[in-house]
């Protein structure tokens, strides 16, 4: 178990996935092929832009993918079964289902500078503000 945050590459453009999905699949493989959960998220502003935080318990950096296509940012996390092999279920409140959620980004976000990291099942996406969208102080000349 590592407590260091891991950075996750953000894939740009269609079908840039590397984790076993073939190119024939559309933009929402998780949505079509399997049941999925919508992860709970927080979004807050910071001086440089927006921060999106998503709960993805059980996800490792190898099976989280983030993709930006046009103005749609999508996150997908593949989660494996928490149960030990051959164990019998006595009580089940959640099922190990993949996470999937997509967002529409505004033009204010600097697309090329999005970064992501995963730590303890929490994904943190930094969405920096585009230069032209930043608040600028205007000096008043006397």
């Amino acid at each position: 178990m590592s407590l260091d945050p891991h950075s996750i590459p953000v894939a740009y453009g269609p079908s840039a996935r590397e984790n076993g999905h073939d190119a024939a699949e559309s933009r929402e493989p998780a949505a079509q092929a399997r049941a999925y959960h919508t992860p709970l998220i927080d979004i807050h502003e910071c001086p440089d832009g927006l921060v999106l935080v998503a709960d993805l318990p059980g996800a490792t950096d190898e099976n989280v993918s983030i993709q930006l296509e046009d103005n749609v940012l999508s996150m997908h996390a593949r989660v494996s079964a928490p149960a030990p092999e051959g164990a019998r279920v006595l009580h089940e409140e959640y099922r190990p289902v993949d996470f999937y959620r997509s967002f529409i980004l505004s033009d204010e976000v600097e697309r090329s500078k999005i970064s992501a990291e995963l730590k303890n099942g929490v994904l943190r996406l930094q969405l920096p503000k585009a230069e032209r969208a930043k608040t600028r102080r205007i000096e008043i000349k006397s």
Binding site: A35, I41, P57
Partner: protein, 146 residues
């Protein structure tokens, strides 16, 4: 003592939701509403000589989790803090749980409380509870007869 009936409250939505969930795959408004009542969710498994409990509690440090066991009662406690230095008014959306939580689980049978172990990885807490010797299934040899 029977695992089947263990801790299962009467819940008319359970089977319904499972069926509907299969048809529509995701029924989030209902699910989110139902899940909001308790945190964290737990699964319990019988792995032969031990019970295994799993609970998704993302965003915690292992030292922020407090587990205790008394007899057959397991208590999970923790507190998840909001991101440091973020003012309330800067949130545009807030769905994730924050604050103190406690969850108490009654186990279906006795366990060796001194040998309970817990691990935390990828935001999922896994507790392994070896069954007490007397609670394990035992093969009984039949003697006599011709």
């Amino acid at each position: 003592m029977n695992g089947q009936a263990w801790q299962r409250r009467w819940d008319p939505f359970r089977e319904f939701q499972r069926e509907v969930g299969r048809l529509f795959e995701t029924l989030e408004p209902l699910q989110t509403w139902r899940q909001a009542r308790q945190y964290p969710l737990v699964n319990l498994y019988d792995a032969g000589d031990r019970y295994v409990l799993t609970a998704p509690v993302p965003g915690m440090g292992p030292d922020e989790l407090d587990l205790s066991i008394t007899g057959e009662t397991l208590t999970l406690r923790g507190e998840r803090k909001r991101s440091d230095g973020v003012a309330d008014e800067s949130y545009r959306r807030q769905e994730r749980f924050a604050g103190r939580w406690t969850r108490t689980v009654t186990l279906p049978d006795r366990v060796e409380s001194t040998q309970v172990t817990a691990s935390y990885a990828q935001g999922v807490l896994t507790i392994t509870l070896p069954k007490a010797e007397s609670a394990r299934p035992r093969q009984i040899a039949v003697t006599g007869g011709v």
